[in-house]
Amino acid sequence: MTNPYELSAKETAERVKRGELTAVECVSSVFDRIRDVEGSIHAYVTLMEDLAMKRAREIDSKAKSDKRPGKLAGVCIAVKDNICTKGVRTTCSSRMLENFVPPYDATVVERIIQEDGIIVGKTNMDEFAMGSTTETSYFGPTRNPWNSIMVPGGSSGGSAAAVSTDETVLALGSDTGGSIRCPASFCSVVGLKPTYGLVSRYGLIAYSNSLEQIGPITGSVSDCALLLEVIAGYDERDSTSVKTQRNSYVELLEGGVERTRIGVIKDFLGEGANTGVEKRVWEAVHKLEDLGAFYEEVSIPSLKYTLPAYYLIAVSEASSNLARYDGVRYGYKDSDESCNWSESFSRSRGVGFGPEVRRRMILGTFALSAGYYNEYYIKALKVRTLIGKAFNRAFKAFTVLIGPTMPFPPFKIGEKIKDPLALYLCDVDSVAVNLAGCCAISVPCGFVDCLPVGLQIIGKPFGEAEVLRVAYTFEQNTDHQKKKPDI
C-alpha cells in the first residue's frame, strides 16, 4: 500500500473529501517520513507537529460534519522561512531573526489555511534569500537528496529538498532571481516563479521588493497549478498586487502543445553551459516538437547584461530594505548597554547578519551613493528596460521561451562559497525573468551523471496558464518527474 506521504496533493485532497483518508493520517505519515530522513537532509528550520496535528483533527471533524472541505484538505505544506506565520518563529535563516515570532500570517498562509491545507514546518534557506545554494543559512546547509555532498540549490533549498524527499507534499518558496527555480532544478522537482504582482507579497520578509514573488514548489505540474490557484489573486494589503481575473489553472492544464510556438534561447546554451545539460534541454525541445509544437532558436543579445543589472538592483533594494533591522523593535540586539545609538546598531547588525548579507548591503550602499548612483543603479534600471523590451518582442513571435534553468548540475557543498562572484554567476539563466516581470517554471528534464537537470519554460507576464500547459504536456509524456532520490 502507498504511504499517504507519497500521494500527490490532488489525490490526498480527493481521498480526504471522499472520507477514504483522514487529515490526521496524512500528517502522521509525513512526520514519520520527516523522522526518517530529516537527519540526513536538514530541510527544515522549525517543525510544527503539534499545530499540524491540531489542524488535522479540526479538518477531519469538518469533513465529518458535511461541511465542504477545501481544495487542499489534508495536504501538508512546508513554508519557506521568510514567509510570516502567526505565532511560529520566522527566521529568514538568520541570527538576526532567530527568535522573531510574527504577530500575523502572510496572505499566502491565510489562503492555504482557508483551503484546509496544513502547514507542517518552516524550511531552510540562504540567509535573507541571498544565495543560490542554501549554504549561507545561519542554521547550516541543506543537503541535496540526490547526493548528500552536493548543494540543493537556493535560496529556497529547504523547500525543494523537502518536496523531493516527501518530507512534505507541497512547499512555498520565494524567487528574487531564481530562488524557486534553481533548487527545483537541482532537486528534480517543479518550481514556478509567478508573474510579478500575481501573488501577494504581504508577509514576505523583503529582500528586493521590485523583483521577488512567492511561488509553489511541488512534485508535479498539476500540484503546482493547484497551489498557484490557491495563493494567486489580488490583495489590497500589497500595493503591487494586480487585479486579474481568477484562473483555475488546474482546468487549463489539458490541451497539449500543438501549434505552440517555442523560442529556444540561444544565449542560454553554448558557451558557459554544461554539455550534458544542453543535451537534456534539446531532448526536451525535440520531445515537445514530437508532440506538435514547433520551435525556432532565438537570440536575445541584451541578456548578457542581465546578471550585473540584476545584482545592482537587488543589492540596492536590499541595502534599503534591510536598514529596518536596528535591534530595537525586533531582531538581534547587541547586549552592551554602554554603546551609543550608532555603535549599538552597527554591532547588532555586524553580528546578526552573516557575511553575504553584509556584503550585499555594503554593495547596495555603494551603488546608491552620490557619485555612483547614475553610473550603477540608474544604469542597471535602464538595462532593465532594454531586457523588458527584448522579452516583449520575443513574446510577439513565441508562446513560450525555453532554456536550461541552471547552466550546470548541482555542485559540491563548499565548492563556491568562498568566491561570491562565482556564486552570482550561477544565476545567469534565471535573473532575466525577474527583471522583465515574466513568469517561468522549472520542470525535471533528466540527469547528468546522476544529478538532476531542470528545463526552464518562460511565459509572458500573466502567461502562467500557457507555461503550465506546456510543462504539463511535457511531464505527461516523459518519466523524469517520477524518479525519486534513493533515501
Binding site: A323, Y330, W341, K379, V383, L421
Partner: protein, 102 residues
C-alpha cells in the same frame, strides 16, 4: 575570476570602511581586507553594463504600470500594542527602549 585590475582598484579599503559605517555594519579587520578584494572583483564584473547602449532609454523602477495605489480612508483595527512590542529585546512602560543617542 582571477583577473584583478590591481592598477585601478574601483574601491579602496578606506571606502569599504566608510560604506560599512554608512550601512551601520561593523566589520572585523580581516573582513575589511576580504570584502575590499571581493567587492573589487564584483564591481569589476558589474562594469560589463557600461557597454550597453542606454541612450534615451528610461529607467524601469518597477515592471508594473501602477502609480498612486490608494485605499479608502477608513479607520480599521490594527496590531495591539502588546503584539507590536512582543519581539522587542528591551521595552519600558509600553515603549521600545532604544540605545542612548549621545
Amino acid at each position: 575570476m582571477k583577473k584583478k585590475r590591481s592598477l585601478s582598484r574601483l574601491i579602496s579599503k578606506k571606502e569599504v570602511e566608510h560604506l560599512a559605517w554608512l550601512s551601520r555594519i561593523s566589520l572585523s579587520e580581516e573582513e575589511k581586507e576580504l570584502f575590499t578584494g571581493q567587492l573589487n572583483d564584483i564591481l569589476d564584473y558589474f562594469r560589463l553594463i557600461d557597454e550597453a547602449d542606454t541612450k534615451n532609454v528610461p529607467p524601469t523602477y518597477n515592471v508594473l504600470d501602477l502609480s498612486n495605489v490608494f485605499r479608502r480612508d477608513i479607520v480599521e483595527s490594527s496590531l495591539p500594542r502588546d503584539g507590536a512590542l512582543k519581539n522587542a529585546s528591551k521595552k519600558e512602560r509600553g515603549y521600545f527602549r532604544a540605545p542612548r543617542i549621545v
